[in-house]
């Protein structure tokens, strides 16, 4: 595969997009796991399917449609949650299913044969185009910049946002910004692992990092590294075995999490066992 990597530009695109995806999912993943926004991210991801459908129906790039829908879903969910009108899991559920349903509706309205949507649903890292890669780079830069530039605020926000409101820090802005960043992350990840599997790549690296380290910064770094490993190894498996890249990346990350979890349990049991003796 190494030789093929130099030969084929689609493999280079795949590798680069995998690395960029692991940067965003590492950073945002740690924040949403700590803020317990995993299901909300799932909702935003699935809502974006409506945008993919709309893109096909009206003939523009589906990923742009997905981006627009994801941002609208993020802001919509955030607004209703902030207003306190309904429970957030209820709104998430509605957005989730309504977005998927809209996607199906738009595709059904298309004249002619329906397109193959499995690359959006389950990801196909080998089909990432140059244009996709440019979009992914810009979005990755936005996420990176927003997190680095407000790092101290994010740290305080994760711990206790109410206290920041008392201090007069604009937590509403941070809340919407975070949801916006989640929407961006989802779009970056759609090409790599697909809508259905986005949650796995957002949570598995962050959760694995969480088992191993307890500082926020080190957790983010570990999470990015784990993400990169999952993406590259998953890409390799997908290329060699000719299976969907999304599935191989997600299965690999879930297995790694389980392995680390089990190893840690066994180690700690052995340690406490020694203490008892």
């Amino acid at each position: 595969m190494i030789r093929a990597l130099f030969k084929y530009s689609f493999l280079q695109n795949a590798l680069l997009s995998g690395i960029l995806a692991s940067i965003v999912c590492g950073i945002i993943g740690v924040i949403i796991v700590e803020k317990k926004l995993v299901m909300m991210s799932g909702g935003i991801a699935h809502t974006s399917y409506g945008g993919v459908g709309l893109g096909y129906l009206l003939g523009f790039e589906p990923i742009i449609g997905a981006f627009a829908f994801a941002v609208c879903a993020a802001l919509g969910i955030g607004y209703i949650k902030r207003k306190g009108g309904a429970h957030s899991d209820l709104i998430i559920g509605l957005f989730w299913s309504a977005g998927m349903a809209l996607g199906i509706l738009f595709i059904a309205m298309m004249p002619g044969y329906p397109p193959d949507l499995s690359s959006y649903l389950f990801g196909n890292i080998l089909s990432v185009t140059r244009a996709n890669l440019h979009l992914i780079s810009v979005l990755t830069f936005i996420v990176l910049f927003a997190v680095v530039c407000l790092y101290n605020y994010w740290k305080a926000y994760i711990f206790d946002s109410e206290f920041m409101t008392i201090l007069g820090v604009r937590t509403g802005f941070l809340e919407y910004l975070l949801l916006f960043l989640v929407a961006i992350t989802v779009v970056v990840l759609i090409r790599v692992v697909g809508i259905v599997l986005v949650i796995a790549l957002l949570t598995a690296p962050a959760a694995t990092a969480g088992l191993l380290t307890s500082g926020l910064r080190s957790r983010i770094v570990y999470s990015v590294l784990f993400g990169a490993f999952f993406c590259i190894a998953g890409l390799f498996i997908s290329y060699e075995l000719e299976i969907a890249s999304g599935a191989s990346i997600v299965v690999l990350s879930a297995m790694c999490y389980a392995a680390v979890y089990a190893a840690q349990n066994i180690l700690s049991r052995r340690k406490t066992g020694k203490c008892v003796k």
């Binding site: 101290n152 740290k155 711990f159 206790d160 109410e162 206290f163 920041m164 201090l167 604009r170 307890s214």
Partner: protein, 257 residues
């Protein structure tokens, strides 16, 4: 001009249709150490949040140090309820206390200054946690966690300290430490403490008020059996620590006038 730290005038707060506070009048003088007791769901936490400007009040007015309250005003330190806090965030004691030094608004690339660092460290010393400075918060005991929250509240340089059940889920020794710390702090700031801890509160706070949706308090403890029984719905043993010491009558004892 009076030197009231907090003045609440006929304050009402509703959660939807449910009243949490109705017509609360409260005046707390500077330097006072007030304990507020009351049953669960009596609106104690809501009262603190109204003073902080965290909940929308549907009627009345709240003034803190003579100015109408809105979030972001300096001068109020807040110690939230332990049970509502996240204990697994990957953050250290020092980092938590530092968050109290964040300025209003949002400044891109904000970094804490050396003074911020030093001030936070001195506060960690003050609450007696200097040996745990770089410890992750999930490794703290309940009492240590509470003292860390107090240090964070002090980092804002408050003239008024609000505490929501600071001795819940804390063992007896740690409870004593916290009350000693608060007594020390009271020398330089006004303290309002919400609690269930009837016994400890009576021996530490200067004055007591009792809240069950409504409260009228103007400095002097207006405490008698009827008030307490009305608030709790059942007789409660209480020692009021006013001037002079006053002990409420035993349950069932006849009122002799």
């Amino acid at each position: 001009m009076s030197n009231a730290a907090v003045r609440m005038d006929n304050v009402s707060v509703y959660y939807g249709q449910t009243p949490a506070l109705t017509d609360v009048c409260l005046e707390v003088q500077s330097g006072e150490y007030l304990g507020i007791i009351g049953p669960n769901g009596g609106g104690k936490s809501t009262l603190l949040k109204a003073i902080l400007g965290l909940v929308k009040i549907s009627g009345g007015s709240v003034e803190v140090f003579g100015r109408p309250v809105k979030s972001g005003i300096s001068g109020i330190g807040y110690v939230p309820q332990f049970a509502d806090m996240d204990k697994n965030t990957p953050i250290s004691v020092r980092e938590v206390v530092l968050t109290g030094r964040l300025r209003p608004g949002i400044n891109p690339f904000f970094r804490f200054s050396k003074e911020d660092e030093e001030f936070s460290c001195s506060l960690i010393d003050k609450v007696g946690l200097s040996h745990l400075k770089n410890r992750r918060i999930r490794e703290l005991s309940g009492g240590e966690y509470q003292r860390m929250l107090i240090a964070r509240a002090l980092a804002t340089n408050p003239g008024l300290l609000l505490l929501d059940e600071p001795t819940a889920s804390v063992d007896a020794a740690a409870r004593v430490q916290i009350y000693e710390l608060l007594e020390e702090l009271n020398k330089s700031m006004t303290i309002i403490l919400v609690t269930h801890d009837l016994l400890a509160i009576s021996s530490h706070v200067h004055r007591l008020a009792c809240l069950n949706r409504t409260l009228v308090y103007h400095g002097e403890p207006e405490f008698n059996e009827d008030v307490v029984n009305g608030l709790y719905g059942c007789p409660v043993d209480l020692i009021a620590h006013g001037v002079p010491h006053r002990v409420l009558r035993e349950h069932g004892e006849d009122v002799k006038e």
